[in-house]
């Protein structure tokens, strides 16, 4: 009994060390979204492209849809772009874009160069809609269900693994919901 008591501080210390050690393995830059399971915020953005569609709250109701926040100045956005081109080709779900803190000319040129996978692109040059969505960097990707609720948020670029392992299964699951 005495020996156990003697070891108590060591045991307490080890417990704390393991707990805090796990805390260190989490990426502190990733801030969980406060908007999960919340309805899409009220917003309406003008189209980026003269010939294209814009994006507003009402567009995100009725079908499971993806919203991708991108900018031409954002290097990871360029890196993930081929995934979206493929995604649009496969027609898994409508993909909308929010062109975030960008300039019209450079964004238009960027899309001309890399291809345009988006069903509609809202131009958010001054980050007003971005703040409504709780965006704090690009790229970010949201999955919105039929009811127009945000169900998932991915921070950072999406590559093949996340696409086939998380995004596609979740779209299927949400499409199965009534």
């Amino acid at each position: 009994m005495r020996r156990v008591l003697f070891l108590t501080p060591l045991i307490l210390f080890l417990g704390l060390a393991v707990y805090l050690g796990f805390g260190l393995t989490r990426d502190a830059r990733i801030v969980p979204s406060a908007l999960i399971d919340q309805p899409v915020p009220e917003f309406a953005l003008p189209p980026l492209l003269e010939s294209g569609k814009g994006l507003a709250t009402a567009d995100l109701k009725g079908r499971v849809a993806l919203v991708n926040v991108f900018a031409s100045w954002c290097v990871p956005c360029r890196a993930e772009h081929p995934i979206w081109i493929q995604f649009a080709k496969d027609q898994k779900a409508p993909l909308y874009g929010i062109n975030w803190k960008d300039k019209r000319e450079t964004a238009t040129r960027w899309l001309k160069e890399l291809g345009n996978p988006y069903t509609g692109i809202g131009f958010d040059g001054d980050n007003r809609a971005g703040i409504e969505w709780g965006v704090y960097g690009a790229p970010e990707t949201y999955i919105v269900d039929r009811e127009g609720r945000i169900r998932y948020k991915h921070i950072g670029p999406i590559f093949a693994e996340t696409m086939s392992g998380t995004i596609i299964p979740l779209i299927r699951e949400l499409e199965g919901e009534k």
Binding site: P32, A34, W133, Y136
Partner: protein
């Protein structure tokens, strides 16, 4: 005169820079000083999500500037400080506040240190009490007493 003035001038320049070495740009400042003061206080409580240990008042990040603008616009529109805090928390979560709110999930965070302190104090009180009790009850046995006396007597002789 010139020589005496320059240190003062130097100090004044440093002081001026110390005041203006903030992220808030001149164009952002509100005309109403009372509103601007509220904006400054509020901004110093809000975390910049890009450079996470700076407030939006201190941060030069682009996103921090957008959030400062939002705070000022809402203040000018007549929102209360709490309404602005709630607006940001709703979109960015509690993390956007540098000081976490006191609620059930943060009770351990806020009151944990006090609990640890009280616990440690309790352990110490119990420990010292039990030690005093054992020392009070352990009287010397007869042979120990006589040996001690002998040793003390020896010491007296030596001196």
């Amino acid at each position: 005169m010139r020589a005496r003035l320059s240190p003062i001038l130097f100090a004044a320049t440093i002081a001026a820079f110390a005041v203006t070495a903030l992220a808030v740009e001149p164009g952002e400042v509100l005309k109403d000083p009372a509103l601007e003061a509220r904006a400054r206080t509020l901004s110093s409580e809000i975390r910049c999500l890009v450079c996470q240990n700076q407030s939006i008042d201190e941060s030069d990040a682009d996103l921090a500037r957008d959030m400062r603008r939002l705070v000022r616009e809402r203040l000018a529109a007549g929102d209360s400080d709490q309404e602005i805090r709630d607006y940001l928390i709703k979109r960015y979560g509690d993390f956007v506040m540098l000081r976490p709110p006191v609620k059930r999930s943060t009770w351990l965070l806020w009151f944990g240190p006090i609990l640890v302190l009280l616990g440690a104090a309790a352990v110490m009180i119990v420990y010292f009490r039990s030690r005093r009790r054992t020392s009070a009850t352990a009287a010397l046995a007869d042979d120990e007493r006589s040996r001690l006396d002998a040793l003390l007597a020896e010491d007296d002789d030596a001196s």
